[in-house]
Amino acid sequence: MRYAFSKLAKNDYAKYPFLKAAIKYVQIPDLRIQDLADSNRENILKRAQQRLEEAIFDNIVSRDLHHEDIEIISFPVAVMLAMATKNSFIQKRYALAEANQTYEDLRKESEEKTLEVAKNFGWELASNKESRMPYRFALNLVDYLRNTTHLREKPWKLVNRMLSNGNVYLGIDEVARLLKEEVRRHIEKRLELKELPAFPPKITEIAEKIRKLSEDTIGKTEMEGFPKAIVQVAFPPCIKALYESFSSGRHLSHVGRFTLTSFLINIGMPPETVVEFFKSFSDYNERMTRYQVEHIAGEKGSRTRYIPPKCDTLKTHGVCTNPDELCQRMRHPLSYYRIKVKAT
């Protein structure tokens, strides 16, 4: 009776198959990749494939709670299939689609079980005991921040929340939404495995099928990302201002310089051209500039390519200027650019 005290039943694990304890509920916990090709395991593989297809078609992965075992075990198999596609677009889409379903489920979940799911991710979430505040949950500030800093909508901004004594007060819908983010990130992380195992031909075959399906449904360009040519008229107002300010020989703040450099690199300007570009700076120092540009481009140092700060951060540091209509709908200068390029 190892699980006698758990507040979640097997049926709940079929609903939330990413929970740590889920796999312990399945009769075949030490399934190996090679076994998946067996004909008597076919339904597992089939369901896993279906999970990915649902992600591509519907952006949400359904739940079949009548077949708990298959439902639970097909999840890690689907994760593996997504890895085998070696396509980050499909992987991200799958993680999001599973998270989308979780959101739907959690909105209707009992308080007790919601707390259990949160606990699985190490959240300090509790039922609200302060009767004066009209919220069902109180979430630890640090957990809240970790899960909301990338959300752009105003109501998520900490300053617009009820924060008291280190707790952020939330309703059930909001908790579901934040747990969704946690689930998405959790799955994305599982997909990040650096060294892929050797997949049996059957798996590779299905992965290839999924890739093809994704290309047909979603389109190749969407899956690839940025256009190659640089379109200056598509620069957002902040970048335009930095660009103009700099080309008339004015001094840029550190944040301003970083924003401009990382923006240019991310829209495809070669680092060498960026260095040339910076030569008209009054305090130009070729060695230093080259170092900084190559650093931001990820050719030096930590090897990570930096992206420009998002709009909120640019606002904080006073870089955001004259936001236009499109800006209202954007949260990042790069998204602005991407959309504007398409339109022009």
Binding site: T148, P155, K157, S164
Partner: protein, 404 residues
């Protein structure tokens, strides 16, 4: 002896004879240390196993400025990318530079680095004449400035304790040794917060991005405005507005941008206070429309938010001045003081590092100032013998030269 040598000798004397690290340093072996020398170079990526080792280094090196990282690293001596960031204290810098005060108009000057256009008060973002953004500035750590910085500190501390729930044992306050205060939060959970999360915290305490529609005031329909008894920003807005309404005269209302219906507001003072106190909804005050409430709330937000330097808090690798060391711009010490002593703390007494000796200086110009119980100045082209601390302050601030 030239002035720089004088400062260097005086600093040497301090580190050799009077220096000790009073302030606690958590996990010293995981911190990066940096030192500015008197020759103008910077020594970075140093680490020390113990306080004793660090003390000995400082006694010997006697730096112009000494810093340590708010961050903890696996290998503090490695180059930046290989240090292995383990976390960082949550740090706030409140500097008079960012707070508009009456006095700064008199003692602060800026000169455009491009066209030499100059003015007094807070340095503008762009030169009004040529648009250049680089300036040479001349500031002064005056009492009014430091008082205003202290007011901001008190506001910040209230946020940190009541809203963020940090305990008084986790919060440490320091006088920076120049024009402001540093507040360090040493909390294990907060240590892991990334730059974005810290930005949210900065925006919270400064009130940036606050949207009153989430506080019961939306679309010209007043539903349930905040009450003084509420927690978080709701309560802060109501309490700040309450204090304002209670004490405001005609001019105060005008300055707050509420010139159109001053009379009405003053006449309805009682009803306004009742609304803010949570008795009844806000809309019930006759003649006071949404626009007026909105303006009142915005004014309240401005006066209750804490003006902190955004760049410092969001930088998770920041080097911060080391407590008990001398500030190269003043010769004063960065000193820690008890949270409970905020209101009585006197920076111009506690931060004095030199209690004996004198020096002869020629002061170009300096406003009136106080150190401990002694008042000095104002001076203008004056040759004078001053106590070491006063002479050092003037020399460090570039207002005086040493004679002989």
């Amino acid at each position: 002896m030239d002035s720089l040598t004088y400062v260097q000798n005086t600093f040497r004397d301090y580190y050799a004879n009077n220096f000790s690290l009073q302030s606690a340093l958590q996990m010293i072996e995981k911190r990066e240390f940096g030192f500015a020398s008197f020759d103008g170079w910077m020594l970075r990526h140093r680490s020390f196993k113990t306080k004793n080792e660090l003390t000995m280094f400082l006694q010997d090196f006697a730096p112009h400025d000494a810093y340590f990282s708010c961050a903890y690293y696996e290998e503090p001596e490695a180059e930046m990318e290989r240090k292995g960031w383990l976390g960082a204290d949550l740090v706030f810098d409140i500097d008079a530079d960012h707070i508009p005060t009456q006095c700064s108009k008199i003692h602060d000057e800026w000169t455009c680095g491009n066209c030499a256009f100059s003015g007094k008060g807070i340095t503008p973002e762009k030169c009004p004449k040529c648009g250049n953004e680089r300036f040479d500035t001349r500031t002064w750590p005056c009492e009014v400035c430091l008082d205003s910085a202290k007011t901001e500190t008190v506001k910040l501390l209230d946020f940190l304790m009541r809203d963020f729930g940090f305990s008084d044992k986790e919060i440490r306050v320091f006088f920076s040794g120049h024009r402001g205060y540093h507040i360090h939060v040493e909390n294990e959970a907060a240590r892991s917060l990334n730059s974005m999360a810290r930005k949210e915290i900065v925006d919270y305490v400064t009130g940036l991005g606050l949207d009153i529609t989430y506080f019961g005031l939306s679309d010209r329909k007043i539903l349930q405005g905040p009450s003084t008894k509420d927690q978080g920003w709701r309560g802060r807005i109501a309490r700040s507005a309450y204090d304002f309404v209670r004490n405001a005269n005609e001019d105060d209302y005008k300055n707050a941008g509420l010139q159109t219906n001053v009379e009405l507001l003053i006449r309805n003072k009682k009803a306004l206070l009742k609304s803010l106190d949570g008795v009844g909804t806000w809309s019930t005050v006759k003649g006071v429309a949404f626009g007026t409430w909105k303006r009142l709330v915005e004014h309240s937000i401005g006066s209750i938010s804490a003006k902190v330097d955004t760049a410092v808090t969001t930088d998770v690798h920041r080097l911060i001045r080391l407590a008990d060391t001398l500030h190269g711009k003043t010769g004063l010490k960065k000193v820690e003081f008890a949270l409970s002593a905020v209101s009585t703390f006197d920076p111009f007494k506690s931060a004095i590092a030199f209690k004996a000796g004198t020096a002869k200086v020629i002061v170009s110009d300096a406003p009136k100032f106080r150190l401990d119980n002694e008042i000095f100045g104002p001076y203008k082209c004056k040759k004078i013998e001053l106590p070491t601390a006063a002479a050092l302050l003037l020399v460090c601030k570039g207002r005086a030269k040493v004679v002989e």
